[in-house]
């Protein structure tokens, strides 16, 4: 313990809130001849602007100077003191805040003697933490001002076009030969009431004509390395193999339409088609029928696929309206279990379909509709849950509305980028306030690859993903500790003592961010940590058999010393 750190200690009375319970004077005297404490002062308060000015004057800016604050908790005013000192040039890592108010005085008011003893112990623990704390050296890289967008469906082209507006070079890579993804299969985009088609046209134009976009149709990714700010992606485009270096990746690979298999006598009976086949005929000769029935939730919201694909209801409404436009006195009925049209735009669309004359019959999962007919479909029998009677609807056309499901190669792409997939196979993203970000910093997912969405939502998600990627790259100095989105600084970055490491691989197996990996080093294996990926959670430290991997800011010695100081 002989290093030269100089610790100055300030005990805050907090206008009596602490000093009424805790005898700060006895603690101050106890610390006066403590080997590690240079000076110890008792002050009336620490957190007001004038106090922070005064405090900052008494702390030298030298790298060895350390500050121990005995005040309130971080979430109370501690945060304000530390950010105040930081604004005045003092590195927050050299400050240790000991919570004497919420953590001691306020919860032990009826036992001042023990509270004082506890406060002394908490101060000792703070000293132990300051003395043992090391600092992880930060890694700084210059983020590549380029983004790879995978998939040129509505989400991908919206992301690409948005990145162009932000001045970022885009590598737009697509498995298919022509852009547009699922949009190529459809004539009108549901719901056509809110300008989605114009957006798609505008984006396609931007993508097609901007010098910032490098478009690689018909290509396939083979390898991915690196982390946020610096990814290296190899892919085969046509015959040649290319390798690009990008700062972020937006996965917009979309999803594919599921075929109903043998449900509702599909493929066995003429006139039983899927929504996609109906769309193809709309693009082609058109479809004039006198009576048609749509069946919703085909092969979905059941035991095998327990999820709602969200887009099939609006799409069926659109197609039903199109059928009535082609033949106003046709009879179009939609058999559904729930019409998923949340919000205002889709609810209007639902009402618009009703006004256009579409009939709706609700059926129950346990009593699915029956299709009658020898070769050509003639009649549908369905138990109408609302009226409680069985209905017979004659129909020359039955449209099976089936869900979007993940692409077949979704597993491969997830493997390349180390992404998790949920139980349905869609890419797993973080929740609530970070809906497009994956647990791999710098890799974003938007569009139906994340969850089935309509074109209008895919476009919004594309723009949002572009903005998030731009927010990551919009600096010339990307530091490893600053990457975390949910707070401004990572707590620490794991550090490996290569000499002690036995290469057992526990850290590699447990790391929730795949930041640890094993490298061969003269015949033996040693663990190395990718500082960009490491988030400082410490999982690796707790399973390393001989402690050769540590979090410098909270190493094993620090916790051991705090344990000793706890009840000294």
């Amino acid at each position: 313990m002989e290093d030269n750190k100089q610790t100055r200690c300030f005990l805050c009375e907090c206008y009596g809130e602490i000093s009424d319970v805790v005898d700060l004077e006895s603690i101050r005297k106890g610390l006066e001849h403590h080997p590690r404490i240079v000076s110890c002062e008792k002050v009336k308060s620490l957190c007001l602007e004038e106090n922070i000015d005064e405090l900052a004057k008494r702390i030298p800016l030298s790298p060895e100077s350390r500050v121990l604050l005995g005040a309130c908790s971080f979430l109370a005013r501690g945060d304000a003191i530390i950010t105040g000192l930081q604004k005045r040039g003092i590195d927050p890592k050299h400050i240790e805040l000991v919570d004497l108010r919420e953590g001691c005085a306020w919860i032990h008011r009826d036992d001042p003697a023990s509270a004082t003893k506890k406060a002394g112990d908490l101060i000792n623990m703070g000293i132990a933490a300051l003395v043992q704390r090391n600092y992880s050296e930060d890694l700084t890289i210059e983020p590549k001002q380029e983004v790879l967008v995978i998939g040129a469906g509505p989400a991908g082209i919206s992301a690409a076009a948005s990145l162009v507006k932000l001045g970022i070079t885009v590598h737009l890579l697509d498995r298919a030969k022509t852009p547009g993804g699922l949009l190529n299969l459809i004539k009108k985009i549901a719901p056509e009431t809110d300008g989605t088609p114009q957006h798609v046209e505008a984006f396609l134009y931007t993508v097609g004509n901007s010098p910032l976009v490098r478009y690689y149709p018909g290509s396939r990714i083979s390898a991915v390395r690196g982390s946020a700010g610096d990814f290296t992606v190899e892919f085969t485009s046509g015959s040649d193999v290319k390798s690009i270096n990008v700062g972020a990746v937006i996965i917009a690979t979309g999803a594919r339409v599921n075929l109903p298999g043998s449900l509702y006598r599909y493929k066995e009976l003429k006139g039983v088609i899927t929504g996609i086949e109906l769309e193809r005929s709309f693009k082609g000769p058109g479809m004039k029928v006198t009576s048609a029935v749509f069946i919703q939730c085909v092969g979905v919201r059941d035991a095998d696929r327990p999820y709602c694909s969200a887009i099939c209801c609006p799409v069926s409404l659109k197609q039903a309206i199109q059928l009535l436009e082609e033949n106003p006195d046709a009879e179009v009925t939609i058999l559904h279990r729930d019409i998923m049209c949340p919000g205002s735009v889709l609810e209007d669309y639902y009402r618009k379909a009703m006004e256009a004359g579409v009939r709706f019959v609700r059926y129950d999962q346990d009593t699915p509709p029956g299709i009658l007919g020898a070769e050509q479909v003639e009649e549908i029998r369905v138990y109408d849950v609302i009226t409680g009677r069985e209905r017979r609807i004659d129909a020359e056309l039955v449209v099976l509305s089936s869900p979007l499901i993940p692409h077949d190669d979704a597993a491969r792409v997830a493997e390349l980028f180390d992404l998790n997939r949920d139980i349905h196979g869609f890419y797993e993203v973080r929740s609530l306030m970070h809906p497009l970000e994956t647990t791999k910093d710098g890799v974003l997912v938007c569009g139906s690859a994340r969850w089935p969405v309509l074109a209008r939502t895919a476009i919004l998600q594309g723009e949002a993903a572009a903005m998030k990627a731009f927010a990551l790259l919009n600096t010339d100095q990307l530091t490893a500790t600053q990457i975390s989105q949910f707070k401004e600084r990572k707590f620490s970055l794991a550090l490996v003592d290569r000499q002690a490491c036995t290469g057992c691989g526990n850290c590699v197996a447990i790391c929730p961010y795949d930041a640890c990996s094993l490298e061969a080093d003269q015949g033996a294996y040693k663990s190395t940590v990718s500082q960009m990926r490491c988030t400082g959670c410490g999982s690796c430290v707790s399973v390393c058999p001989n402690g050769s991997i540590q979090l410098p800011e909270q190493n094993a010695l620090l916790i051991g010393e705090m344990l000793k100081a706890a009840f000294s």
Binding site: C14, Y15, G16, E17, S45, L48, C72, L75, A76, R77, D79, A80, Q145, S162, K165, L166, D194, G195, R301, P306, Y307, C308, S309, A310, I339, M340, C341, P342, G343, S344, V345, L346, E347, D348, V385, I386, G388, D422, F426, S431, L432, M433, H434, P435, L436, R450, W451, L460, Q461, E463, A464, A465, A466, M467, K468, A471, N474, T475, F486, E488
Partner: protein, 407 residues
Amino acid sequence: MSAKPPHMKPVIVIGGGVAGITASLDLARAGTAVHLVEKGPALGGQVSALDKLYPTDHCAFCPLWTEVRNCMLNPLITVHTCAEINTITKTDGALKVVVDEHPRYIDENRCISCGRCVPACGVDAISTLGAHAYPPSYYIYREKCTLCGKCVDVCPTSAIDINRKAASSEILARDVIWATGFQDYDISPLEEYGYGTHPDIMSSLQFEEWTAESGLNRGTVVKKQDNKQPASIAFIQCAGARDLRLFPYCSAVCCMHALKQAQWVKRRNPQVQCVIFFTDMRAEGRHYYEYYLREIGGSSIELLRGRPGLIYPMPDEDGIAVKYENTITQSRQIRKFDMVVLNGALQPSLAKSKDSGYSPILDTEGLLSGISPTIKSCGFCREPMDVEASVVQASSAALRVHVGEEQ
């Protein structure tokens, strides 16, 4: 190539909920200065008033408080709390926005949360901002305060100044993003729901506050009437929504919200019977249907299709009668419940900006129409949506403002 210089004029984001916070953070991280105007005393909006969130059952403060803190600490974001938009007028190429800041009697940078002012106040007008508000500070509710000044003397850091007057500042902004979200709506005009006729008929947001873990009842579910545990609770969906007399739109969040509330009631006391009256159970978002299956299958929440015809306090005994048509038995039934939660009447809250040629154009349903090119808006005020969709739309609005392009 250093970080891009911040655009010369700032952007005003109105509303400090999840959409406003996300838009401000994205703009600031992209290099644009932001003024975030929030009418309440702290950021967080409706989500911070919730107890739990679907579909992950997180506590509402958990994903929010770090984003609020990032907003407060970001040098490019200036947060105005207790502030509302007065006028927005178009000048040459910019918008002159007048922001009225209501007097905040307690200065949150000087309040050390010691709480001595609370006993000193005779009319109980002072309290903390909520369990997990940031920055933590006490707050004087202007409507209750009688300006007696007793609290001023007891405050050790002289943080209280009851003579503070409302101030209004003028900001020359490049653009405005509306992220004002939604608020609860009193649907007593629709008498059949019986709102206001019985203390235990409440809106879903009131029920959430009443049973919140960080609230008074600490998560236990009791009747407002007598603080006893209810035997059965009815959740009425689309009460006021999808109804041409009031809100023609579907409020999008209330089906899942009812499921969450019912599930948490069952988790806290399994013997309470929960019934949800619904029209369409719209659980179509990411992992929503699994949440629906887990709740329905697991903890015996009863789903009854159909909207109740009449809800009224039982004439002779305590309890609330719900008259509805049971579509399975094709018969009209009356069922007694101890509590009724009305879900659906959520009104987009719009800054009451006086007519200044630039007030937001509303579509027929009282929502900020997405079609009008000049107005950039995101979240519930533009279209009823849940947290994830609002956050995505906020980033998209931030992008369009940053690149200076029509929506």
